[in-house]
Symmetry: C2
Subunit: 322 residues, 2 copies
């Protein structure tokens, strides 16, 4: 994965520079909020995917950074709104924006970022790109609505869970890859391959994220372990555990989750039990199957240095520990 | 204004039918929220302006309804988020969405509507349209941020007030008219004329709205009189009143507004005093000056039945009582 890391070392600062300069052009009233959102950093996964797919498919335009940053602005907007819904205290280890600047500012800054993302994409001159990100943002919001509809709901089944994570995470990652292919005017077959690559990579990314919530320490992921369960979100490791539990334990847990009766100590103990039965590992195994589908999409790409890096990206999602 | 009313009678149901059918295509989880938002109705001012400008400038495509409805979806999204920020209890006489479905649903439904509006516009195939609405949504959010920054602030001056209402209301109305001109490929001069028409109409529309808040009865506008002041928003009628008041009264009021010390009775009495000094009338007079600028923009349009209707629209904004 050495080449991917070298690529990131060069490209992440460039992406950050464009994110900063676009933010600095906005009204001073919203800048402090956006600076706070952007300083929390993150891997810039989505813009990197746009860069890699576009370049791997032959696009050489310098405007690629503006298009790539559109995806990061859209992603940041969904995080801003998401953190309000979740009542999240931390985001990437920093205090969540709605707690620092208030909910009102967080809602409106999210709207500004949604609009900025759309504007940067519209300026590509290709309406397929704007249509692509609009579809993705709609799916993202619908995924979050579905997640909230199933909060504290231990009857959530695998299909329901998959629909939620596909919506809230995978569609925007898919859009990042599709936008790259559309910019490169790669043609219908490759555009579909980029979509398949992105969607499956995105599903796997969220599966690994959900596994990490049951596997890591608070320090390593920048938020408390078992955070999903604390927010009432039933993710795959817990669904695996519930499925394997006997009926009385399952009923008892389902009831306690529904009525928010689990104490901090209960949650810590439950996270350990989920780990012991290997449910986080099972979740990563499933991620591996989606990564194989992503790899099948990528196989259709013509050979290029970027294709090799995208392949390393698959490896990165498979093995990441935070 | 008879012809405009006849036009509305034909076109409003068509617009509503497209709004409904687009909403029905969305996921069932979000449909009840959107039905609630749309059933509150409203005049469909923005889509009507898109219809009238596009047709008046020679556009005959049947897809005009989809583009026009994009504007209404975007507008509804801003209302959804705005009502959360304001803690509004009513919208057009119906309970506000965030109170019926919860804040979470209102935030996400707003995001869905923003995305749907962008998608419907992107499907026009002309990226200038998406760029236009993205700019407008950004300005709208920034206008609302500016409004919130000046909440309970009696030092707000006329320029500050004008920037707020231009942002939060006029840019989207401007976009409605510009999109019509862009669809019709009317050329730079007419596109600018449509922008001037829309921006000034929008400023006047909000001025009249702010005047009505000091002039109407609760029944006629579907929300309590003096609602803006109750939310801590200082609008032009009150700014006029404060300017005319002597220093002690001005200081006393500024202090009470700042510290939220005004009782319901205080507010009712103050609204009456603002009315008595004719401050709502002064605000409507200023609206008239912006409507004259709107008319100057419209003058550049080629003659058409729709141009006559747009002229009646100016008259409608001038004289509306709710």
């Amino acid at each position: 994965m050495h080449e991917l890391l070298s690529y990131l070392e060069v490209e992440q600062p460039r992406i950050n520079a464009v994110l900063d300069s676009e933010t600095e052009m906005l009204d001073e009233l919203v800048r402090p909020v956006l600076r706070h959102v952007l300083k929390a950093g993150g891997k810039r996964l989505r813009p990197l995917l746009t860069l890699l797919t576009a370049r791997g498919l032959g696009y050489t335009g310098e405007d690629i950074y503006l298009r790539a940053c559109s995806l990061e602005f859209l992603h940041s907007a969904t995080l801003l709104h998401d953190d309000i819904l979740d009542g999240a205290a931390l985001r990437r280890g920093f205090p969540a924006t709605h707690l620092v600047f208030g909910q009102t500012q967080a809602i409106l800054a999210g709207d500004v970022l949604l609009a900025l993302g759309n504007k940067l994409m519209a300026e590509s001159g290709d309406p397929r790109l704007t249509a692509c990100i609009s579809e993705a943002i709609m799916h993202t919001a619908l995924g979050e609505i579905a997640e909230i509809a199933h909060i504290r709901d231990a009857t959530l089944d695998f299909e329901g869970y998959l629909a939620i994570i596909t919506g809230k995470t995978a569609y925007l990652i898919q859009a990042a890859c599709m936008c790259g292919a559309l910019l490169a005017k790669a043609g219908a077959t490759i555009e579909q391959a980029a979509a398949d690559f992105g969607l499956n990579l995105g599903i796997a990314f969220q599966l690994v994220d959900d596994a990490l919530d049951y596997a890591s320490t608070a320090e390593s992921v920048g938020k408390p372990v078992g955070a999903d369960l604390r927010e009432g979100k039933l993710t795959l490791p817990l669904l695996h555990y519930l499925q394997a539990a006997d009926q009385p334990e399952r009923d008892d847990l389902a009831h306690k989750i529904k009525t928010s009766e689990l104490t901090d100590a209960d949650i810590t103990a439950l996270v350990r039990r989920v780990q012991s039965m290997g449910a986080d590992r099972q979740t990563r195994d499933l991620a591996g199957r989606y990564l194989a589908k992503a790899a099948a999409g990528l196989d259709l790409f013509p050979e290029s240095p970027e294709k090799a890096l995208l392949s390393q990206m698959i490896q990165y999602v498979r093995t990441r520990e935070k």
